[in-house]
């Protein structure tokens, strides 16, 4: 797998995303709660562009009338029919074995590390300036 520098960390605001073309693939990189996730920009259902998806929370209910939110911003809700996917691995919430979005490994690295190479996959806190988001495809 080759590693591709796709953005400065500052380029993708929290809750935002950036679409990149890597080797002919339309990939969307999300920034959620200080983490970055890369997914194919295409819903496995009918192909909606996931860059327009909503980043939502997981809503569960142990019984009627009681609702709980968790993993705020980490679930992806397709812009068309609203299928939900886990941002971390692209798995669908309702049928995780069969329906998933292709996801790609992401790393954040400082510019100086990148220049030196070789590309050791070491992650850094996102708030460090001049860090870059790297997607492996």
């Amino acid at each position: 797998m080759a590693r591709h520098i796709v953005a400065r960390t500052t380029e993708i605001p929290p809750g935002g995303n950036k679409v990149v073309d890597i080797a002919g693939r339309d990939i969307v990189v999300f920034h959620v709660n200080g983490e970055f996730f890369a997914l194919l920009n295409r819903c496995p259902h009918e192909g909606a562009p996931l860059e327009k998806a909503a980043c939502v929370a997981r809503l569960t209910s142990p019984e009627p009338g009681v609702y709980e939110r968790s993993r705020v911003g980490e679930m992806l809700r397709c812009p068309w029919h609203g299928w939900e996917f886990d941002m971390r691995n692209g798995q669908s919430w309702f049928d995780p074995k069969r329906v998933k979005i292709r996801s790609y490994p992401v790393a954040v690295e400082r510019g100086e590390e990148l220049q030196k190479g070789p590309y050791v996959a070491e992650t850094f806190a996102v708030h460090v300036e001049d860090s870059y988001v790297i997607v492996e495809v």
Binding site: R42, H45, H81, V99
Partner: protein
Amino acid sequence: MSEVIDRPLRDDEKPAGTRLRIVDCDVHPSLHSLDDLNEFLPKRWQQHLREYGSHLRTPYLFTTPYPRSSPLIARRDAWPPTGGPPGSDLTFMQKQHLDPLDVEFGILQVLDLFIFSQQNLEFGAAIQRAINDWQLAFWSHRDPRLKASILVGQDGVDLAIAEIERCAKIGEYIQINVSPRANEPLGRRRYWPIYERAEALDLPLGIHVGGYGGHAPTGGGWPSYYVEEHQSNAHTIAAQLASLVIEGVPERFPKLKIVFIEGGFGWIPSAVWRMDQHFERFRSEVPHLKRKPSEYVREHFWFTTQPIDEPDEARHLRALIEWVGVDRLLFSSDYPHWDFDDPRFAFKTPLTEAERKKIFSSNARAVYKF
């Protein structure tokens, strides 16, 4: 059945649907703002719209339906960059929908202002007239692919007939649209003058799901959840199909063509089987019916495809399509709404080239005479 897709499709791999010029029987244009209607609406009704607005048979302001699952029930990617609601910007619609999907004809279905459900019949007729003119001026005349329908509220039959005559003289409309939720079941005799005009003018009758006629949307009453109510679209038109057939509308108007829009088609086989079965037993109650209900359905009714049911097994969808009849189905996308169907990926079962051609184009061309 869905599968993991790990890369975009290359052009030469794309399903044939993309190469076929399609007829999309359900495209929703929207008013950019109510002022769009000013040039078509007499001052008296502009003022009424500002001061009183809609009078619908639903309780409380804003209990009417939007948003239902998504703001303006729209795809999240369908908001025009120029502002305004989804479906209100022709250039954006062309760029996002008509051009890339190779839409040869798109049939406009206007839902703004709950146009069919207005209980003040004069106000309803004025709005319908304005919307009918607006469809031509803002859409069809700017993009000839987009075809307009004559919208009328059937509970004011005389007003509806006048509007049908007015529009028919213009000669650009391709069907007459009425509500699936009128005050009475659609087969009732009081609505027959509309069917008589539709037949005489050779314009299909289009019936798009939705609206608020004042009756509970299910036979059991008012549902608690939107997901529950969404189910009722299918029940409602199944009931209207039965009403039209059993009250004898196709028997009385043998050349009338009726298109059910946005009701899907998964419910059709059992509804028709049941009608046939009951017809055998209760024939003497309805001696005005000369043939089995299924025969009327096969000759007079068409059904747009969206929302397509998605059984786990592709062969079940296949069987369904065969039971309903490939020649009865008209492709529709429902652009720009949240349950939009992409013509390339909506059918999760293989279709032959001949079947594709019928569903995506030639059936609609025959019904609407494009």
